[in-house]
Amino acid sequence: MNLTKDKGRRVAAHLQGIPRSGIREFFDIVSTRQDVISLSIGEPNFVTPWHIREASIYALDRGATAYTSNLGLLELRRAIADYVRESFQIAYDPASEILVTAGVSEALDLAVRAVMNPGDEALYHEPCYVSYAPVIALAHGAPVAVATRREDGFRLTRARIEPAITPRTRVLLLNFPTNPTGAVLTHDDARGIAELAVERDLVVIADEIYSELTFDAQRVSVAAFPGMKERTIFLNGFSKSWAMTGFRVGFACAPPDLTEAMMKIHQYTMLCAPILSQKAALEALRGGAPDLARMRDEYRRRRNLTHAALNEIGLPCHRPEGAFYAFPRVGGFGMRSREFSLRLLDEEKVACVPGAAFGASGEGFMRCSFAADLDELREALSRIRAFVKRL
């Protein structure tokens, strides 16, 4: 076989089955347009608070340019342990149960690869962040989607998960607050899911990257329930909480055997998270509590404004309880979500990601990020209003 000539076969077979992200396709279209207001951005519109940037500059000034421990700076792991204990009531040992990663994206990949065997099934709830199914497939696992529905406010319950469990199910992947729906886990739902995970002996990967952006509800982590710490890989990071997406720093907390397994992959592939980002993360944890409150308050106002405006416009929208996305229904106009988004882009120059990019059950919806400047957000909503009026 000549792999240079036979191009169809030189890319690994399991990779060929993975489609490009729908977000990527939409990005390519939007990038060719001028003067577009984008509500398609999955990152904060704040710049990282100055004291955090300054800490990184100071570290650079002092010559912090080396590798760190594979697990991450011990000081940072200690600060993470304190933060997770205070905020989520879960105690992790900084020496053996915390791993600092290059963003929570890396942590997710490590977690999945650390626990999946080829052919194992991993459950995840949909509509969801675009990476879950591909990351499972890259680990030679079988992704199994559990649909959540608008009628339930995109909540996930034990009853919805249970029918999808088979003898091959090994992992349950949770993302609350959810990108793109803004759903959160209620205390009762979390308890039900935790009991199910214990009964069926599932490993739970809890991606709680948006946890600091929980607006009204009490924040709960599934990892805090009885019997859960030993079976949960808790993922979190700094990107959304402290507007630090470009720093690429996140972390995974898990029992020692799972942390060790993730660390092995991390050690041979990434080595360690960038030291300047770790220094910045440490400053975020030490002095960043006021930033969290300030940004959360601003997002809450924008959430309220966006939620009210979309419903007035005639795009029915449940109230997002977390993250910074509204997920209105756009399916009532005889168009698929992709067509709706493309026409909105063409006619009013507003970019919102079609819901289908977040899985089949996202069809009929559209994701509007309210991590946007308030004036831009207002302008975009008024353009959406004009567009819907014409339909």
């Binding site: 992200s21 977000i23 939409f26 990005f27 939007v30 990038s31 577009v36 984008s38 398609s40 951005i41 999955g42 990152e43 519109n45 710049v47 962040y129 675009v130 990476s131 990108n179 308050d297 106002r301 924008r302 309220n304 404004l305 009210a308 405006a309 970019a351 990601v353 308030l374 207002r378």
Partner: protein
Amino acid sequence: MDELLKILKENALESPRDLARMLGLPEDEVKQRITDYEAKGMIRAYQAILNPNQLDPNSVQAVIEVKITPKREGGFDRIASRISKFPEVESLFLMSGTYDLLVFLAGHNLREAAHFVSEKLATIEGVLSTSTHFMLKTYKDHGVLMEDKAGDERLPVSP
């Protein structure tokens, strides 16, 4: 601070309608609360924040440290009140430390500012000394940066 005041402090031009949506309150209630704040004097004024670097190049701004002898009746307040009535005085504070009053002065030109200090301020009975510092450039005022905002570095679409 009340969230309504927080928002208005940042942008006094927010409409009652959007304020109502952001706070999740009825519009009438928002209007009423603003009226109440104004009546109580908690909201004292609404102003635009200008960039002095782009205004009349002859205009000057100065801070003046003033030492005074407190009066028997009224203490510092009587002298402060007198100084505050001059329209050139933009802000006035009673300070702890080596001087007593800090005056923020805005003048149309240097001569006018000098005239104010030597003829008006220094001659007030009870004013012992003044020390005037002229401002050379404004970087930030009332929490607002004077440099142009950097553009949005974010990609137009991200997951």
